[in-house]
């Protein structure tokens, strides 16, 4: 249903493709302009790969997936509140798990299509080969990263329900996670405490896994299956934790002010 709705907004769909490319273009063009001929060599020394175009494009595509999870899944309840339909949805004799699963599926599908298309188009524009390295492992990291991301978006949704000022929070969070997951740089540049925080955030493992599989920048634990194991652990913990926190916040709100309060 939501896919049908969004198909009516062609400008928005076009923006879905353009946004990650423009986002990646900024550091790419800055690097080319300031680094000149030495840009690739400097980048190789600092990150482990000379292919800064693919590095940035992977980062911005992953950013798209994470941002969409926040906007579509985390923001969903707030959106229903704003349009005055949340209480009607709660009155329907449907398991809420199916509702959330539907929203999450929509978000994942839309973000995966946008991110993949943006990566391919961006690679064509900047003349890099998008199909290099271990493609299947990269795909496995993306797919495995989606489930814990869903859990994180539930946590975020709970926060929005509690504080309500959704736009400001989503804007803040999307830049916060951009920094945390190292969209344009390796998280190794962080001081130790910030690095630990970054490692506790599942998309950090997803984006580094994809980069390591395609560009060989190096997995956190040396081998792909060890990093994948961490992501699988997140896959179990994050959705359960997210759903539990969301349910608690939701129950508190229903007991007090009510879900429809805007």
């Amino acid at each position: 249903m939501r896919l049908i709705t969004i198909s009516r907004y062609r400008g928005q769909l076009a923006l879905d493709l353009v946004m990650p490319i423009v986002f990646a273009a900024m550091p790419i063009l800055l690097g080319r302009a300031t680094g000149g001929a030495a840009a690739a060599d400097n980048f190789l020394r600092n990150t482990g790969t000379a292919n800064y175009v693919a590095y940035m494009l992977i980062g911005s595509s992953a950013f798209t997936i994470v941002t969409y999870a926040f906007w579509h899944t985390g923001y969903w309840v707030r959106w229903e509140q704003e349009t005055g339909t949340l209480e009607a949805i709660y009155l329907a004799p449907t398991n809420k798990l199916w509702l959330v699963a539907g929203v999450a599926l929509y978000s994942m599908l839309r973000s995966l299509i946008s991110a993949t298309a943006a990566y391919l188009i961006g690679s064509a524009i900047f003349h890099v080969n998008p199909f290099q390295g271990e493609l299947l492992i990269a795909v496995a990291f993306v797919v495995s990263g989606l489930v814990p991301l869903l859990g994180v978006s539930f946590l975020f949704g709970a926060l929005i329900l509690k504080l309500k000022q959704a736009n400001a929070l989503v804007n803040l969070m999307q830049w916060g996670v951009t920094l945390l997951m190292g969209v344009f740089f390796p998280v190794a540049v962080f001081p130790p405490m910030a690095r630990v925080l970054a490692w506790l955030f599942p998309p950090t493992w997803m984006v580094n896994g994809v980069r390591s599989a395609l560009l060989g920048v190096g997995f956190f634990f040396g081998r792909w299956y060890r990093d994948m194991a961490v992501l699988w652990a997140f896959m179990l913990i994050a959705p359960l934790l997210g759903a539990w926190v969301f349910a608690r916040v939701e129950r508190n709100i229903r007991r007090n002010a009510g879900m429809g309060e805007y």
């Binding site: 400097n42 803040l172 740089f185």
Partner: protein
């Protein structure tokens, strides 16, 4: 704004995060001594970012807020009051001037800690170019508000799209020399691109290769014309769109 503490703090923190993300991204191209290659990188990025902040806020605060009033059902009530419509638009701009100005100062300071010392030559002329550029961007904001009254929900997409388009075409985060020839030709048709170029070149003291689009005298003339004509043009467009909306009864249509 002070009534919304989360939004107040979030908007402030957001700028710090954007600065950190792009500064760290830039530093991945630093040489073995941690220096950011050739050219005055810090001035290009920081001064470009300052203008981007104003442009971004203008596009959202004026155009999109009109849409928000429509959504919340308060636009017609505002129009029923005997207040000046121009004042209503300008009041949104005033917040931007104060708040974004403060954000710019702090973000510029923060960026210098990442990217190095910020050059500050010709502050008087730089301020003049900034004022003219801001006047011009407010005009763009008025025009976008007019368009929002017409295209409604698509206004949000348009504001987003323009924001990203201007980021590339006006080269806020990199020198114009990084743009391919075809895109550079388009940039040369946009007054705001001259504003970005003139503003940062002036404050950097015209290092070799700057300004990039035209001689500084020509750029100042373009920026001045942009600052004087665009607000008048934007407000004229807004009044026309508003009149049309009132005639068709679509002012509060959601």
């Amino acid at each position: 704004m002070t009534r919304y503490p989360v939004e107040f703090i979030a908007s402030f923190a957001q700028v710090f995060l954007i600065v950190a993300v792009f500064s760290l991204a830039g530093l991945t191209f630093a040489d073995e001594n941690g220096r950011l290659g050739q050219g005055p990188a810090s001035g290009v990025v920081i001064y470009g970012f300052v203008l981007f902040l104003f442009l971004s806020d203008t596009l959202w605060s004026i155009g999109y807020n009109i849409r928000l009033e429509q959504k919340q059902g308060t636009l017609e009530q505002l129009y029923l009051s005997p207040a000046s419509k121009f004042a209503s638009l300008v009041s949104r701009v005033t917040t931007i001037l104060v708040w974004t100005g403060l954000l710019c100062l702090t973000s510029a300071w923060l960026m210098t800690t990442f990217l190095g010392k910020l050059p500050l030559a010709n502050p008087g002329l730089g301020l003049y170019i900034l004022i003219m550029s801001l006047a011009g961007t407010f005009g763009v904001g008025f025009a976008l508000a007019a368009l929002t009254l017409r295209i409604k929900e698509a206004g949000q997409t348009l504001a987003n799209g323009l924001q990203f388009l201007f980021l590339i075409l006006c080269a806020n985060f990199f020198p114009f020399s990084a743009l391919p020839a075809g895109i550079l030709a388009v940039s040369r048709c946009i007054p705001l691109a001259y504003a970005v170029d003139a503003f940062r070149s002036t404050l950097m003291g015209y290092p070799p290769g700057f300004p990039e689009l035209a001689p500084i005298g020509v750029e100042i003339v373009i920026v001045t014309a942009f600052g004087i004509l665009m607000p008048a043009l934007g407000f004229w467009a807004y009044r026309r769109a508003e009149r049309r909306a009132r005639m068709t009864g679509s002012l509060s249509e959601y």
